[in-house]
């Protein structure tokens, strides 16, 4: 549950903190690259949650 909260927080309350253009990543403004990065990471986090749940 806590693990799943990480991408959620990263995509909501953390965004005002990374709300800037520099450093550009692959040409994207930093804030946009941050969001895109988390879109890719979210499945990994949910997969991790699934693994932990099954082990319990």
């Amino acid at each position: 549950m806590l693990l799943a909260a990480v991408p959620f927080a990263a995509l909501t309350i953390a965004v005002p903190l990374v709300n800037r253009i520099e450093p550009r990543i692959l040409g994207l403004p930093f804030v946009l690259a941050w969001i895109v990065g988390w879109v890719f990471l979210t499945p990994a986090f949910l997969w991790g949650v699934g693994r932990i749940e099954r082990r319990w």
């Binding site: 959620f8 909501t12 005002p16 040409g27 969001i35 949910l46």
Partner: protein, 479 residues
Amino acid sequence: MTSSPVVALTIVGGVLIGTIAFALFGVRRIAMDPQQFIVGGRSFGTLFLWVLLAGEIYTSFTFLGASGWAYGFGAPAYYILAYGCCAYVIGYFLLPPIWRVGKDRSLLTAADFFADRFGSRALGVFVGITQFAVLVPYVALQLSGLQLLLRIAGYGHFDATVAVGAAFLLIALFVFSAGLRGTAWASVVKDILVLGAVVFAGIVIPVQFFGSPAHAIDRVLRLDPGHLTLAAGTGTHGTVWYVSTVLLTAVGFFMAPHGFSAIYSARSEATLRRNAMLLPFYQIVMLLVFFAGLTALLIVPGLKGTAVDQSFLLVVQRYYPAWVLGIVAAAGCLAALIPASAQLLGAASIFSKNVLGELGIATSDRARTLATRVLVVIVALFALGFWLDEQRTLVELILIYYNGVTQFLPGVVAAFMFPRASAWSVAAGIVTGFALVLLFTHGSTPLLGVNPGLVALAGNVAVMLAASFLFPRRLRPSN
């Protein structure tokens, strides 16, 4: 009339007819009883469900609305990338219990869910009616997208009224020709076409005009340095707005009238979990849609108001041959038609089953199917009225829809976690939420930048909790 509109519109027509034929072929051999029609026989596997759920996400809102916002406002459009992901995180935990209840109690619709969990058929009727109402801005959104596409594919030969009439007929035709399973098959065609169109608009166009999407972003930043970051704090579309909007739309994501039926159509809980995990990848397409909008800002600057929704279509219309526009417009039309028909079917079958059925008006399956069809036309007419009354950008329309649809969430959560909540307290919460949404939609009250839907949701929860403590429910549901 020159040959360009003929070529473009012929392609649009051909693709639409082809898709309907393909969808009908997919449903031909399956008997269309309500179990099949509404929840596809509860048999959809991971891949099919993935396509079905994604089919609802990639609508003309994504296709035109998101690029329009990237064009018109810039950074606030980022919320569209983020909210889907957050929604899937919530869905990972929320969908399996909803599915389990649905399977154990053989529920077909969201209204069934409310009626069953709170032991009140009246609540089921109430939810059926309100879900119907909530759909009006959503269908208005798809109508608006369709008329835009038809107008541009016609190279300005039709006015908006003709185009919206044609769009209306297309939706009705589409809904009547196939049920949910047909919609899922048609989604396959749609997704391939939309993906192609988005790659074209988000990569090929910026590469041809500016060398790469990154160079296009450089140019946008030189033009307007503030375009790609959010305004600070409580201003219009500022950071507060961003956070509250992502929260609101993420929690509302699975509360769509048709959402519950889509959940129930899954084969197993694991199917749903895997879907929640895999769906974020679909979201990446949005990035290309942003590129398309930003590129359009450089090539055809100066669009204002609702015209921003046409942004990248105008680029295609002006700089590419008619057949390219035809394919892009056909992809866009499918992106409007399929989700609209899925949602319309969802709401109409809820209404005929949970409202008319409960009141004893349409009891036989045949009468219900007829009622479903009549109701689809009624919602579409309301949506037409809404569109004629207020012209808004596509993103504004979807936000109004989300403001409404989110109001069902407190009841769903209470059904699992808050046994004191009674049918009346849930209904009171929903009424409060809707009243606040209507108030905020008509008078634009500044709420320190917070999305009005979230404020309405807070009111909803407060009323529900207060009512539950004042008049707690005595019986637990028989389970």
